[in-house]
């Protein structure tokens, strides 16, 4: 069932919901952006419709809600340890289709990768219900349509924001009673059907091509462009890497905590091992790793879908103005060239035989 709800009424409903849920949405942090007098939009708890930034893309993804940047796993003393706890409320997240699909990728990584579920992820993830924010147009860096992540039916509520009211589709019956007195309407969310940017996924279908992709000249061009800052991976809804470390408290050297903190494959020390040896030593190599991870490895391993959902945040946040869509398309072109070269070599060889 769908309803037309005034902002005032929706705020009352949010208030009601907050008894049982923490509600997260993209929120504006004024003048907290990277550059002076720019705003930062990121996920945070909200209590009113007016706080939700629905007409701009958030700088950071909603992954921070369920996969916090810094997370204490457990506390320890000499002889004991105690697991950290999370709050006992449910979680509601206002999210776009790309992000909901992105969290599906995170589920795969954290819950279906090997035979161990990541309990620290799971304990927050299983609380989550999504409120879909209808996304009909997107922005100039989005390429969700190319990635097939522009649509979803994984939501409890779906909303369209209008000037003074919201159209709400209630899919999850648990929320029906909240809307019982509202005017019904026939709203179902629409999805973006074409982006300004289209991306062609490289067809890397054998090891031989993969090896050649590894050695492409194009990666070197990033040596002078990419600053290895990791802004792209921090903003990415599907990046999941972290570093685990023990922190010993200063006041008492015998007590401490184990925590995990996000990491980035773009950072210089990401592949560094004891003794200082690293596998990937240049920005280009790190860029190659990230790109292939997003549009090759994940699918090769899990089968169904690419890791990247085309949200375009990596492009939005890159201070060096590197477009990830362009990077993928460049790679596709190079792969095509490699394949054509092979075909013409085979043809030439067969001609000789004739």
């Amino acid at each position: 069932m769908s309803y037309s709800v005034s902002v005032k009424k929706m705020n009352e409903i949010l208030k009601e919901l907050q008894k049982d849920y923490k509600v997260y949405a993209p929120k504006r942090f004024e003048k907290r952006g990277r550059y002076s007098d720019t705003d930062l939009i990121r996920y945070a708890e909200i209590s009113m419709v007016e706080e939700i930034v629905y007409d701009e893309k958030a700088d950071f993804s909603p992954k921070e809600v369920i996969y916090p940047i810094t997370q204490t796993l457990f506390y320890f003393t000499e002889h004991e340890y105690k697991e950290s706890k999370v709050h006992d409320k449910g979680i509601l997240i206002f999210a776009r289709p790309c992000d909901i699909n992105g969290i599906k990728r995170l589920d795969t990584i954290f819950l279906e990768n090997g035979d161990q579920e990541d309990i620290y992820y799971k304990r927050l993830r299983e609380k989550v219900k999504f409120i879909l924010m209808e996304c009909k147009e997107g922005w100039d860096t989005c390429f969700c349509v190319s990635m097939g992540s522009n649509q979803t039916d994984n939501y409890s509520l779906a909303v369209r924001f209008a000037e003074n009211n919201l159209l709400v589709e209630v899919k999850d019956e648990a929320f029906n009673n909240l809307f019982a007195n509202e005017k019904t309407t026939d709203f179902t969310p629409e999805f973006v059907t074409s982006n300004q940017v289209t991306v062609k996924i490289p067809e890397i279908d054998n090891k031989e091509i993969l090896k050649k992709v590894h050695d492409l000249d194009m990666w070197e061009s990033y040596n002078s462009r990419c600053g290895n800052c990791g802004a792209c991976t921090s903003a990415c809804i599907t990046c999941s890497c972290f570093t685990t470390s023990d922190v010993i408290y200063s006041e008492n050297g015998r007590a401490g905590e184990r925590r995990r903190v996000w990491a980035s494959c773009l950072h210089e020390d990401f592949t560094e091992m004891a003794g200082g040896h690293s596998f990937r030593n240049t920005p280009g190599e790190r860029m190659r790793f990230r790109t292939l991870h997003k549009v090759y490895d994940f699918k090769a391993r899990f089968g169904e879908e690419q890791m990247c959902v085309g949200c375009g945040r990596c492009t939005d946040r890159c201070p060096q103005l590197i477009s990830f869509a362009t990077t993928i398309n460049r790679l596709s072109e190079e792969v095509n060239k490699l394949k054509n070269k092979k075909v013409s070599q085979v043809q030439a060889a067969s001609k000789e035989v004739e």
Binding site: K31, R34, D37, T70, G230, V261, P319
Partner: protein, 338 residues
């Protein structure tokens, strides 16, 4: 041609004497160095009609038009009336009557500024808007003052070499939980700034004493762990100057002050100058004026009625470091032989 020309009078109207007798260069004010491009056609018209067809981008960000003949100055002054109205009255809200006689004074020099945060990725403040507010405070005053506004401590505006240099700074705030210990801020602070950041237990600590408030750490932080406190702060440098005798870089007078403090201080300049110069506006660098008054007296007068914000820091003493082109330049005959 009339060779009896009162060059002092013309200089007051912002016409500078040329090496060619009877020719002058007009210096048109551009407070903060930014105006609408449409004004260029007016500048071109003056250069083509009365000047020598060229213009110099003046060292203090004026439009400088050389080769204007003495007999054309009246026509030029009439012509620039609309420009003075547009820039001074409309844009900067300066309280003045604009007439056909051109610029009323050259005392307070054009306020320079870098492009600031309307464009620059390093900037912390809107330099253009501040320069325009300052223009309203100092123009048209016969008392000399040179000012420059820089968007950040990089100081592309050379605030260090002005009577008053105003530098935009930011209080940085750290969100412990957002930090992923990538050390980018540590590296950039050491490389571009003061090296006050270091890693401790997988997070960042800061020696707050010496942070210059440049904002580099926020600019490089991938997660938004470092952000600028939205409140705007300023550093005020005083007494810098170039010159033949003993040029010197300015010294920090105020740190972490608000815009109100900056405006209050500059608002007091005219009264301070008048008092020290016995109400005779003669050309003297601000630094010399401060020297003449003595720093303590300067501080007292310039901060009169100014309410300092809680974060503000004020220099206790100032030790100037002049370039002495000749050793013992300050050692002079004890009895005046003049």
């Amino acid at each position: 041609m009339n060779h009896d020309i009162n060059i002092k009078e013309l200089q007051k109207n912002c016409f500078r004497q040329s090496k060619v007798p009877g020719e002058f260069m007009l210096q048109m004010r551009v407070p903060g160095g930014v105006i609408e491009a449409r004004h260029l056609s007016l500048v071109q018209h003056i250069a083509d009609t009365w000047g020598n067809g060229q213009f110099h981008l003046g060292m203090r960000q004026t439009f400088s038009l050389p080769g204007i003949k003495y007999e054309n100055i009246e026509a030029v002054n009439e012509y620039i009336k609309s420009y003075i109205e547009d820039i001074e009255v409309e844009l900067c809200d300066v309280d003045m009557d604009v007439n056909d006689k051109g610029y009323p004074t050259i005392g307070a020099r054009n306020i320079m500024a870098c492009i600031g945060n309307s464009h620059c990725i390093k900037a912390n403040i809107d330099t253009t808007t501040l320069a325009r507010k300052l223009e309203k405070l100092i123009f048209p005053s016969d008392y000399h003052i040179k000012m420059s506004v820089a968007g950040c401590p990089n100081d592309c505006a050379k605030a260090q070499f002005n009577d008053f240099g105003i530098i935009g700074i930011a209080k940085m705030e750290y969100d412990y939980d957002r930090c992923i210990c990538c050390k980018k801020c540590v590296e950039t602070c050491a490389h571009h700034a003061t090296g006050v950041l270091s890693v401790e237990k997988g997070k960042i600590v800061k020696d707050t004493c010496c942070c210059v408030g440049c904002g580099e750490c926020a600019t490089v932080c991938p997660t938004g762990a470092w952000t600028r406190n939205p409140k705007k702060f300023y550093r005020v440098i005083i007494g810098g100057r170039s010159g033949k005798q003993y040029p010197r870089m300015g010294k920090m007078f105020l740190n972490w002050v608000t815009e109100d403090v900056v405006l209050g201080v500059i608002g007091n300049w005219q009264e301070f100058s008048a008092e020290i110069l016995n109400h005779k506006p003669v050309y003297l660098h601000g630094g010399h004026l401060i020297d003449r008054a003595g720093y303590d007296k300067f501080k007292e007068m310039i901060l009169k009625g100014v309410e300092l914000n809680p974060e503000a820091e004020v220099a206790d003493k100032i030790y100037w470091a002049e370039t002495e082109y000749r050793a013992n330049i300050h050692v002079k005959p004890a009895c005046n032989t003049k």
